[in-house]
Symmetry: C2
Subunit: 231 residues, 2 copies
């Protein structure tokens, strides 16, 4: 039993390190989204280049997570709930990496908006970003604490981001019709809004992974919310 | 040795079944993209609903892949190259599932374009879809055959899809300026073009996973191509 206890303790420490890696990735991805939105609002092209550059660190953390997951499986041969946790860590790190990619994509659009002058709908986007990033933050906390209920609560907030997106989409179309000379810049903002909406979707995806890892059950469709025909 | 040989044979059979699952997922995702584009071109709303419904089958195949990967790791404790292959299968199934989501997203836009009349740039999109889907097809073949060189060749073709996207983006903006009453429908086509461009990106992501699984090395940045500032 002592040996078994030692093995379990070593596994728990490995798992804690995995969770710490994902928390670090999450913190960086959250910061990248908020900072990319600031760069867009303030047309800060230099800082946007740094957001793009810093994404490499998130990619490297994902690769490190994968290496450690493989090492952990090979050394510790985890079973059942432990194996679900490890596989969830691998999948979640992949999703967080994509959230980092969205931040990078937003940052890449900053120079394309430099000469755009004022585009009113842009002012809506930082608040949308804040809601989506808070979902990411909360769902990664739910992962670290294996809190299936907290994961459900994150899913329930995705509708707010979707509604925000629909509103921004309509506002941008109106802006395009009224300002045809700014259609290009407005189109870039459509993609920024879509990226933020996708960040909310990804938080929901992570919530489903957290729920499955913590309970061994798939989250019910009822909880995830009816999908409808929204695009 | 007989026992070891037996174990290896059982592992190889498990891995073959995983590869067959991913090939089936890939076939369905490829078909879904092409069919969604046909629905869009021909305004076939009924068939578009079927594309949306059929995506559930791709999601179910991803869940089955994950279950089998976990079972395979627990039962066979694969090491080194074998473990890389299994982890690659898990990650690739996640990417193929997202390609299915893009098809579903395109299908959801079909009813939004029903009253649009003729939008000339739409005629460019099926060819873009064909190139991106062929990349997916070829990279999944490379996975099944553990062919790192074929994976590299897929990456090299992503530039063609990106160039196609840039051209479609500009064409759609011009169309929007000249047809402000069709700005909404054109905006939906911008997202369709972006989805297809992302399918090409995902084929490249899979190629990197195939290369790593087959060789144990990361694909060099030189091969992946300079990223530049494209959005």
């Amino acid at each position: 039993m002592a040996s078994q206890g030692h093995t379990l303790k070593a596994f728990d420490e490995d798992l804690d390190r995995l969770r710490a890696l994902i928390t670090e990735m999450g913190g960086r991805a959250e910061h990248a989204i908020i900072e990319a939105m600031r760069c867009l609002s303030e047309r800060d092209g230099d800082a946007a280049l740094k957001v793009i550059e810093d994404d490499k660190r998130i990619d490297a953390l994902e690769a490190e997570t994968e290496r450690r997951v493989i090492q952990l499986i090979a050394l510790r041969a985890p079973m059942a709930g432990d194996l679900r946790d490890v596989v969830a860590a691998l999948k979640i790190s992949g999703v967080v990496e994509r959230i980092g990619d969205y931040a990078k994509n937003i940052a890449k659009r900053v120079p394309l908006l430099e000469d755009a002058g004022k585009i009113e709908p842009l002012s809506l986007l930082p608040e949308m970003a804040r809601i989506a990033v808070q979902m990411v933050h909360d769902v990664l906390n739910a992962f670290v604490q294996r809190d299936a209920e907290a994961a459900i609560r994150v899913c329930e907030r995705d509708r707010a981001v979707d509604d925000f997106y629909d509103s921004v989409f309509r506002t941008l179309l109106t802006h395009m019709m009224e300002n045809p000379h700014k259609i290009g810049q407005s189109a870039h903002l459509l993609f920024v809004a879509k990226n933020l909406e996708r960040v909310g979707d990804h938080a929901t995806n992570i919530a489903e992974m957290v729920y499955y890892a913590a309970t061994g059950q798939q989250m019910a469709d009822r909880v995830k919310g009816a999908e409808g025909l929204s695009v």
